[in-house]
Structures are given as C-alpha cells and as structure tokens.
Subunit: 150 residues, 2 copies
C-alpha cells in the first residue's frame, strides 16, 4: 500500500499518532486529554453510561476508563450517581461545566479535522470512513482460532 513500509497497518498507525498529536494540541487550551475528550463526547451522546460502558465505547480497559473518569470527576466535568436498577454500577452524567467544556472544545477539534481533510470530496471521505470501519470489524479471535492446527 505504501512503498517504504509496505503495510497499511503502519500507515494507519502513523495517521493515528499524527491526529492524536494535533487533537491533543488543540485540547491543551481546554485542559482536556484526548481520552477525556472522547469520553465527554460519548457521555454527551449517551448520558448515564456506567464505567464499563464508557470503557467499551472508547475501547479501553475498565480500569483505564475508571481512572480517567476520576480525573474528569475531580475537574467537576462529570458526576457519578447511583444506578437505581443496578446497585453494582453507577450512572455517569456530564455536569453543566462538562457540557460547557465540551461545547468549547468540540468545534476546535472539528475545525482541525476538517482542515486536514480539505481537498477530499465527500465521496472520497465516505470511502475512507467505510474502509476504516471495515478495519474496525477485524475482530481478533479472542479464543485463538488456530488451536487445532498444532
């Protein structure tokens, strides 16, 4: 796919690293990490998620999500409330401050991303999105699928 590497995987990796860097840079002014921003985004879209839900949504470990949400909670951007239907879990909601913070940060991030995609048509972007989504469906066999061969 690419001449020097030859593997699209590392092209995707490089793109992710660059994008993360740019987004992180855009977020320092809002005192948010990339992961925190992602969580705020998810929580705004789906309020009342549990820690485990957030972890699944941002595809990270439960504990990582827990630690990061603790940071957001310390900053007063999210709050945990007991879940009346499930005494194990807690529902997590954006506070007003969290919503304000997200409303401030989101346009910045969107602007950065839009600027980077300049020159690509909507159809091309759609193709890219389709390809990336296809990659995400690369479900790795959790239980190792080559057991019998040995």
């Amino acid at each position: 796919m690419n001449s020097p590497d030859g593997c699209s995987t590392f092209l995707v990796r490089h793109a992710w690293l660059s994008l993360r860097g740019v987004v992180a840079e855009a977020l320092v002014a809002h005192e948010l990490s990339v992961a925190q921003f992602a969580s705020l985004l998810m929580l705004n879209d789906t309020p009342g998620m549990s820690v485990a839900d957030v972890a699944r949504k941002v595809s990270t470990a439960r504990q990582s999500a827990n630690e990061m949400l603790a940071g957001l909670e310390r900053a007063g951007l999210v709050e945990r409330r007991p879940n009346p239907n499930d005494r194990r879990s807690q529902r997590i909601y954006l506070t007003d401050a969290g919503r304000v913070r997200l409303d401030e940060a989101l346009p910045t991030v969107r602007a950065v991303e839009a600027k980077l995609s300049e020159g690509f048509s909507a159809e091309e972007i759609a193709v890219v999105a389709a390809w990336l989504t296809r990659m995400t469906q690369a479900e790795q066999s959790t239980t190792t699928e080559e057991i019998s061969t040995c």
Copy 2:
C-alpha cells in the same frame, strides 16, 4: 464523519487498535511484537540505520527503539556494528536469522491486511492511502504556533 463519535480521529484510532490486534495475533506465531516487526521491516528496507534512525522511522522515542532493538538483538535477529564514520552511533543490521524471520512473517501480515481490504477496489484503496498520508502530514507545531495570540 461517523454518526456516534462525530470525529474521524477516533475512527482512525479504532481502526489502528483493531489492526494492531489482528497483526499482533498473526505475529505471535513468529514470536514478534508489532513494533519489532515494523523495525525489521524498516531495517530490511534501509540497512545500517542507527538507533535514532529507527526511532524516527517507526515514530517512537529513541529509548523505546533502543529497548526494542535490544530485544531483537537478544533474539539474534539484528546485530549492532560500530559506525566507522561516527563513534557515537552504531549501525544496525538484520542477521540472516532476522531476514528469515521477516520473510516468514511478512506474507502472513500481508495476507491478513489483504483479507481485510477485500471488496475495495484499487482506486478506493488509493484514496484511503492518500487520505491517511495526508493525515500524517499534520505536523504538530513543535514550538506552539499560538504564542502571539495571548
């Protein structure tokens, strides 16, 4: 770009995580980590690089590359030779075993990647590659470009 997140950055991240998982799974049979495989690939393409060169090529920190190369060296897949032109740096070369290992692993990885891209035309793949490459050109301002505004 994507309905739930709304940010292409996280779609790229998700794609990278999935790809890394799949590639890592394909590489366990060859006893290679994804980073090690990338380094072998780069060193095969450009033999005699220094540790710093490898770090830049795989876009990681010098020390991370150093540790990983130490692992490859312990496994006998690469070797360090003094650089006659520069007594600070060392030239790193693939050993015969390293070349064999790479020749074994590369087809596996390529097959996995090709299988994932099934159904996309060459033109579409080219668009994806162009977009990803464009993202990698998102040079983050190392020296903060918004100094004057405050």
